[in-house]
């Protein structure tokens, strides 16, 4: 039988713990520490599979149709064009390319959403919904897509350590990397990710990414590795400021250092000025 003082203490305990638990709407101690600024570890041209060389070295499992398109893009780039890479116009890279980590990003954990925010302003923020919701219906597709995630306690220590994400509802045009390797025009790509800290080094983050896309003969898996900067300085990376590409119709030109329009490729014809009064030309 409990004494009166013991009963009082237990009542107090119950009252206090209820208050604390009630106040604890979001227990961030359940989540891993992914704070700070993350950027890629591997150098060289940004590419989907950072463990392999760029361009042909990627050994992308492209269908014959999309392999031919990639060759076309490379040929155009070799001639001074941009191929199928649209980011020179400050169009967002979209998923999965926006996870390249060329420019830094950060995570924010909230009860229903994990956000990934990118310093490069043309990248749309990723909102990864972790509240168990189903795929939305009738939403406009976006470059970042709709992402649904699930936190996993893979090692059973009572704290989440892996974020599993699936991303759909994408729009295009998107390419795999700056070589202009195209993703399928049907925009039906599905990207699954497993994001977790390195077991040996908490300042390294891994993102195992598998992309299913009709430009491929099979799903393509690669692991992205990011390193953490804990003392963060954020800058603004605004693509349009100082962007010297000028797109007129289907042609890309450059702005010269002294402010004149100039060709972007050898022997490029000037733009058609039919809408200007000829006397002013």
């Amino acid at each position: 039988m409990l004494s009166q003082s013991t009963f009082g203490a237990i009542t107090l305990l119950a009252a206090l713990t209820t208050t604390v638990a009630g106040a604890q709407a979001f227990d961030d101690a359940k989540y891993p520490d992914w704070s700070g600024q993350w950027r890629r570890i591997e150098g060289g041209p940004p590419r989907y599979d950072m463990s392999k060389p760029p361009g042909h070295g990627q050994q992308a499992p492209l269908t014959p149709e999309y392999r031919a398109l990639h060759e076309q893009s490379l040929k155009d780039q070799a001639a001074g064009g941009q191929g199928f890479d649209t980011t020179y116009m400050c169009i967002p890279m979209g998923m999965p390319r926006q996870m390249s980590g060329v420019f830094p990003f950060e995570f924010i954990f909230a009860p229903k959403i994990t956000y990934i925010l990118f310093e490069m302003m043309i990248q749309q923020p990723r909102r990864i919904y972790t509240d168990g919701r189903d795929w939305p219906k009738n939403e406009e597709p976006t470059f970042a897509g709709d992402s649904i995630g699930k936190w996993i306690d893979a090692d059973g220590d009572g704290r989440y350590d892996v974020l599993e994400v699936e991303t759909r509802n994408l729009r295009g045009p998107r390419v795999w990397d700056q070589s202009g390797m195209p993703m399928h025009a049907d925009n039906e790509a599905v990207i699954t990710e497993r994001i977790y800290l390195d077991k040996a080094n908490p300042d390294i983050l891994h993102d195992e990414m598998t992309t299913t896309d009709h430009s491929l003969t099979r799903p393509w898996t690669a692991t992205r590795n990011f390193k953490r900067e804990r003392k963060v300085i954020w800058t603004e990376n605004n693509c349009t400021e100082g962007n010297n590409h000028v797109v007129i119709g289907k042609e890309n030109y450059f702005r010269s250092g002294d402010g004149y329009l100039m060709p972007a490729r050898k022997n490029q014809a000037p733009p058609d000025l039919r809408y200007f009064k000829q006397s002013q030309k």
Binding site: L13, Q24, E140, E236, R255, L261
Partner: protein
């Protein structure tokens, strides 16, 4: 008695464990979740309580003259002193016009203000830090904030913010009301939810700028959408403005360069092989 001590010790241990786990007590902070939009029917002028353009801003004579010239240029088809037509970020304070929706994420060290248009992002540091040294100025500036419990209810209800270290060019709104070229702007804000309606947010914004004869205070109001759908507002996509040198041209619907103003001369094509025309 020994049982009581043991019980209290257990209680203390459990509470300590729970508190230790609670690094961020969300209930101390207001609920500003969801999507915030400017009220429907409100224009995009800086002071929405007044008609747009003339009579808005307490400009110095020098900057009033710049503004007048800007209005004249806009009337002739130009963009005046509004730099955003080439997808330059609005910057502060204009970003708080919230032409496209805004989300506020409250965290212990920093409150993020995300604005859908151009992915404009403000980080408001609330950890008591001082102004940083040698940080590059930016359109959104550097913001330091302080949470206040003005209602005395044990929960923060007002976020006070000061923003400095801005870069330009910036204008207050699309009419081109200019901020000073020295970019010494200081923006002070008080952000809070309406006492009568938790789905209305107010932002009292005071701008101190050398283009102004006195600090200029306006109150911005936003309405909450609790079940938001987020879209992408990508300025560069479909932007028909083409800037070459100091001139702005337009792209025609059929993809040709065209004048933006009556009688505008075409661009100088000196770097092209004219024999290829």
């Amino acid at each position: 008695m020994r049982n009581s001590i043991g019980s209290f010790a257990l209680a203390a241990a459990m509470i300590a464990a729970a508190v230790g786990a609670q690094a961020f007590d969300q209930t101390k902070y207001p609920d500003w979740s969801g999507q915030w939009r400017r009220p429907s029917g409100v224009g995009n002028q800086w002071d929405t309580s007044r008609p747009p353009r003339q009579g808005q801003a307490p400009l110095t004579p020098e900057y009033q003259a710049i503004y007048e010239a800007n209005l004249k240029d806009q009337a002739a088809g130009g963009q005046g002193t509004d730099p955003t037509y080439i997808c330059i970020p609005d910057g502060m304070p204009r970003a708080m016009n919230v032409i496209f929706p805004m989300e506020i994420i409250i965290q212990p060290i920093v409150t993020h203000v995300m604005i859908e248009y151009l992915s404009m992002l403000r980080r408001i540091y609330t950890d008591g830090r001082d102004w940083p040294e040698n940080v590059e100025p930016s359109f959104m500036g550097y913001s330091i904030g302080k949470w206040l419990d003005e209602g005395g209810r044990g929960r923060y209800d007002v976020l006070q913010v000061e923003t400095r270290n801005l870069k330009g060019p910036r204008s207050f709104d699309a009419s081109g009301i200019p901020l000073h070229a020295d970019n010494q702007t200081v923006v002070k804000e008080r952000i809070y939810v309406d006492k009568a309606d938790p789905n209305i947010l107010h932002d009292e914004v005071t701008t101190i700028d050398n283009a102004l004869t006195r600090p200029w205070t306006v109150t911005k109001n936003y309405h909450r959408e609790r079940n938001p759908v987020w879209v992408e507002a990508i300025c560069a996509e479909g932007n028909q403005h083409v800037r070459i040198g100091n001139e702005n041209y337009m792209l025609s619907a059929d993809g040709y360069l065209m004048p933006a103003k009556k009688g505008q001369a075409p661009p100088d094509l000196r770097y092209f092989d004219r024999t290829r025309k």
